[in-house]
Symmetry: C2
């Protein structure tokens, strides 16, 4: 829903998008999870290598991804949300420890800054009907892909305002897919985007979607919202 590169977090995301380096040194070295691990299938690895080779000429760039959006800047977490007690927050798509169980993904940003592709393997912990990915998991993949594209366009925080999804074919768990998103137009604070989710060969169109994101001022989370 929200994507931020504002305040301290701006350095995190903007760095991820390859624009500017972090503005301050950081004592924590978070693990970039948008790289192969033991849970990646052969198909996932092969497509990842294909996308890396395509990116070699600078036309695309892989975006790092962390367990928590703010892992990169713990000082900012302290400043913005105060000391975190109990289980700290985790990014929805990175909340499982077991490799291969949930979302395994890597997002690539086009050099135009107006297009993203998310290579994703949907693991067995994302099941809805037995054997198939939950509709909410597919919506999550789409929201993340278009949200990252909107963030690259806006260069400030963005918020999902509308998400319209057509589910066209059931997606088996374990499937490796590519969500391909692009900006359609940018009117004031409104960013209109589209997204299609296909298998890696492009033979099956699993879903297509349109989205509207709004550029917003950075918002401090309400203290009462902390668990």
């Amino acid at each position: 829903m929200w994507r931020s590169c504002g305040a301290g977090a701006r350095a995190v995301v903007a760095h991820g998008l390859g624009r500017v380096p972090p503005t301050a040194p950081c004592s924590v070295s978070p693990q970039d999870l948008a790289v192969p691990n033991a849970g990646w299938s052969v198909a996932m690895r092969e497509q990842f290598q294909h996308l890396l080779r395509r990116a070699a000429d600078g036309s695309w760039r892989r975006i790092p991804s962390y367990r928590r959006g703010l892992d990169y800047l713990p000082e900012v977490v302290q400043m913005v949300v105060g000391p975190v007690t109990g289980p700290g927050p985790r990014h929805f798509l990175r909340n499982l420890d077991a490799e291969g169980a949930g979302f395994e993904y890597a997002i690539f940003l086009h050099s135009s800054g107006h297009r993203t592709q998310c290579l994703c393997q949907l693991g067995p912990y994302l099941e809805g009907h037995h054997g198939f990915a939950h509709g909410g998991a597919i919506a999550t993949l789409i929201d993340t892909t278009v949200g990252t594209c909107a963030l690259a366009v806006a260069k400030t925080s963005v918020m999902t305002a509308k998400l319209n999804i057509s589910y066209l074919a059931p997606m088996p768990v374990g499937a490796v897919v590519v969500a391909d998103s692009r900006m359609e137009r940018h009117e004031g604070r409104k960013i209109f985007l589209s997204c299609r989710v296909r298998d890696t060969k492009g033979d099956t169109l699993y879903a297509e979607a349109t989205a509207l994101f709004i550029q917003v001022e950075d918002t401090k989370p309400p203290p009462a919202a902390r668990p």
Copy 2:
């Protein structure tokens, strides 16, 4: 995306919806997770008790919920998808072990069979922007609530065909909300539904959505889809 009460699984879901008992004895006693645990906040517990009291006259019924959709009938898992090796599948909304970390929820079905309400606490592992629930998590809550309503209407498997969501206010992690869904109309195999997500007092409308579900024949998952 898919909801099933077909084949052997029909007994599972239909029983959950209070229609018929399971057709065969089962050696496994799965844990119903749609009840309070240590991760439920005071607000979540209070609203749950309120909804239980409201259900006392039979106008509403709480639907059990399990870690896996097929926990209830392991014989059916064997028959439909074959032996499960490695980490077995889990339902997307029940894939975290830590109580209170992810989705904590209980769905209530109206006696008309045309309306569902999902009481849900969105934990810190569902974060998007720091302090707020991910748009995909909210989409997941909505898809589950309308999908359960569609299943009650169809009394056979259903598939999400369209999901159109308007995000109206940012939802803090830790928030306790009620997703209220109803069938709008039923035309042949098409079931049209709506959903609104509010805080428990009804003061904040976080999101509203429309959905189209299609009644489908039960589908055996492709063997290649198993991880």
